[in-house]
Symmetry: C5
Subunit: 262 residues, 5 copies
């Protein structure tokens, strides 16, 4: 019943999700450094790179462009909320699975804030979404982000391992988790997820070498890949960074070899 | 899937929404200056002007008159609340999309108060409405009005740009936003909205020239038009103001040329 | 779509609603002065008078007697709550429209407490009820009673005009409002309601002459009639008061002429 | 539409409900005095007595035994809650009407806590249950128990009369109310209930004579019968007490005559 | 209607549930002592032992492995929540009964926190689940765990007896309760559950002999078996402990005889 392997999300079992929902979650301020990235079309173009196995966007950006990019594997992010709102972490379900399928999604995404006072409600929303997604044979990616009143350290090894386990127990095919600070901790989270695949979220925005090293570490620790946003599309030449990531994720290249693409 | 261009909302890609839901949102006090405007029929008559591409009203006013005005493009405003109530910003969904279609709506409208403690709930109501509207091929206009506990300045450039982006990400066809104070800020909001069209809400009630100038500025900044209420129907000769707006919005007239209609 | 004119609620465009839901809203204490009125059958008998165009009761009293009174036009009051409960104004929806139709209702009624913290929720309940009623071609009467945290004076002219306008905007066919203190204020409320008809609620329990004068004033101000309870059925000879009201409401009689019936 | 007379609840228009939901409402502590009554089978056996026109139990006890007792008229109590929970009075709906019908119920029961902060919510649950019960032609018994923040004295004559009236107005066929302290007060409650039948709840646990006298008083005041639990099944010879109650309720026996059964 | 006896949950009327939802309820920290048990496959292997009549897991672990273990009787635990969240006891419903059936469940499980401020809501969720399970002929196991604001001592004899009774009254086939401290108290709980079977939850993690003695005591007190997790799968040779439990539960062996398996 786990549709990951046969889906377009997987390229030889590995994954690179290009995420572009910053406009909803953080607002246009996230595009200030590279103003052209405010235009969804520019980022859809980036998403056509072979290294990208899924492009994660909200409903509005999906329905406006999906037909123009038949070769991009659409990961429709089903929930999300602006940061204008400042309450205990929660996220609105902005798109139904049925509509996501109609728009052409090849996978769906959902954020769970474990530890939030809204955890129970969000988990029940996830239940419906996960079961609807099974009906459509759509893989389900959980942004598993412990956060809120009950969570002291949202990137500690034990928190990240728990987040990965929640994704498994609740029926996600892929757990998107933050980097827990060390390869060992990432390996522990991968263990906790069992048959659910783990992708690293983001990675710190440092030098090219540091970024690629952290990706390499995550892959070596058992993660199947990366979900990345600004670290790719806000570079002057995002294709080159995708070439480098392709080498690290799919071709087992060393960081030094990957750096030659930049 | 975006039904704007082929709809009656668009006249050569431009928009003029005449809004008349003040009776619910503010009460009859809004009609005091020009008491005749309390009578919906008078304002429906104004809405027959060629410059008006949509007339925005609540359900009760729609069903009472729509059959008598087949040439007016009805924009049924689906939510709204009285200001007798004084809680954190929220808005009741007063009409279903199915019923709006039955009444003859050519488009639907919905207010989202980003930043309110009810944002998550309102966004989920919007989800259902937007998907139902797609079934009926009805364009969706979002009154995107950040307001509430989380919002310090509801017309700052960054707030308005965020409001426009929310409309895009959540799947609105048109974002109705307040004027953010300058043409540059409006252009920024238009950029943030991407393929979602932007209309300016209201405009300050100053002199004719100042009003038309602000509309002209908005159009020049990329907005497709205006949503206006009292600035039109509460004038002695609303048709003349509509003539002037028609010149500015659809005919690229200068403010001076437009003023000749008054 | 507005079913008022062709319905039994209207007698030559005028209305007299006999209301009998005091047992739920206030309890048996309301029947103490005239204990026989505790028995629904006595009041159903009164409702057979030709002057009465609708008899407003809750579900239980409707289903127990409606079949025995085929000539009484049943107005099923769909919501209502005891005054044992003392929270911010709200009202339980005690009957569905489908069931009201099955019981034989010729119209339905609903209380909206504008200004209450439950206004949004109540308005959404009203939405469903109004649209269901349209399916059954049942006129909808809104008891439009601003009340609660946001309302300082629930019978001021501006409050009553707002209440009448809410009924229009939300799609009620008839607005039942309290008397705002003067004929001018009532005329203002009638204006605010536009095509929605206005009936005066109750009227002060003073002398016969004062009562009939207030009804006459309301009619002259444009109201289509009256909704009345104890002022009729708790008189020794309720039929005589109905004769007098018939003269005032339907026959344009003077108060003096009407008083001759008593 | 009122299915009482033709139902098994009625024996010549009179009623004796044996209630056995103490295990949920109060816990096993209620069975301590007569431990054998913890076993549902023992009490089902008692319920086979001819005097009992309905046996009121929760879903679990209904489905486990109903097939074995085809001659017992099952009154499925649809809501109920443990007293482990200590909030403002509320009650969980533990069984749907459809399932009650499937299990073989001949009637359904529902507790309404008038005056509780949950009154509105409970009344709306009752609406659905009452209308579903009408579909199945099942009589509806309301445990009408004012209780909670708004209620000062839950057995005063005015409170009990209000409780009886609520049952009528909301559409219950039978109102189960507490004894309001005097025959006159009970007669007042019976009046308030109109066509809804009234049964007395429990009765004080005093001597046999006092108990039977209170039942006799209630019957004489117009109540159609009694709902009783421990006063019957926790006696050494419950059948004898049922013989005595049968004499008082159905045979208009005097208390003295009834006492001869004991 | 009680499907227990004919189901795979029962082996000669006795039960041994191996529970493995610690990853959701407590997080990976529960696997630290025996890290291999983080891998679901290892524990599924243990569940193939003849002594185990049901294996209790959450949805994600069920759907990932159930097809590979057709001989393991799957008990899908339908609700559960992480302990990252720290509010008044509640539990998210993570799986529908329909989906559980589709995944191949032979029984379903549900936690009820009697006494919690969420008791009413949880009981209503249980209602739907229990009735859906009846449609699928799936036995229902209630983890009946009083906990929360209203509960002072969650393992006192009276609390455990109440918990067992709640399971009966609400329609569970099996009540999973904590050990109330003595064989007499367990016998009392078994009495309270009537036709609902009782299984002991866990048992203290002490010596082999103490553990087996407590199981023996529970069986002798009338419990039909045990639900156990870490006490089995976190041993070096879990099969040997299962051999010992098999002897105690199904073969009426003495503790000494059972100890020979270890």
């Amino acid at each position: 019943m786990r549709p990951f392997d046969d889906s377009d999300l997987s390229r030889d079992g590995k994954v690179l999700i290009l995420a572009y929902d910053h406009g909803l979650e953080h607002g246009p301020v996230d595009f200030e450094d590279v103003p052209e990235t405010m235009d969804p079309e520019r980022v859809w173009d980036v998403a056509t790179h072979d290294a990208v196995t899924a492009f994660a966007v909200q409903k509005g950006i999906a329905e406006a462009y999906a037909d123009d990019y038949p070769d991009v594997n659409l990961l429709l992010k089903l929930n999300g909320t602006s940061n204008l709102w400042m309450g205990e972490p929660d996220s609105a379900v902005n798109c139904s699975v049925d509509y996501a399928a109609e728009v052409g999604a090849g996978a769906v995404g959902f954020t769970l804030y474990g530890g939030s006072n809204h955890e129970v409600e969000m988990a029940e929303e996830f239940r419906d979404i996960q079961e609807d997604a099974r009906e459509h044979d759509l893989p389900v990616v959980m942004w598993s982000y412990p956060r809120g009143q009950g969570v002291k350290d949202d990137t500690s090894p034990s928190t990240i391992a728990y987040a990965a386990r929640q994704a498994l127990e609740l029926g996600a095919d892929i757990a998107k988790v933050k980097y827990p600070g060390s390869p060992d901790a990432m390996a522990h989270a991968v263990d906790a997820a069992g048959p659910t695949k783990v992708v690293m979220s983001g990675g710190s925005k440092t030098s090219d070498e540091a970024f690629l090293s952290s990706v390499k570490d995550a892959i070596d620790a058992g993660a199947v890949g990366l979900a990345v946003g600004r670290n790719v599309f806000q570079r002057e030449e995002p294709e080159k960074m995708l070439d480098a990531l392709e080498a690290v994720i799919y071709e087992e290249a060393s960081v030094d070899a990957a750096l030659e693409h930049l």
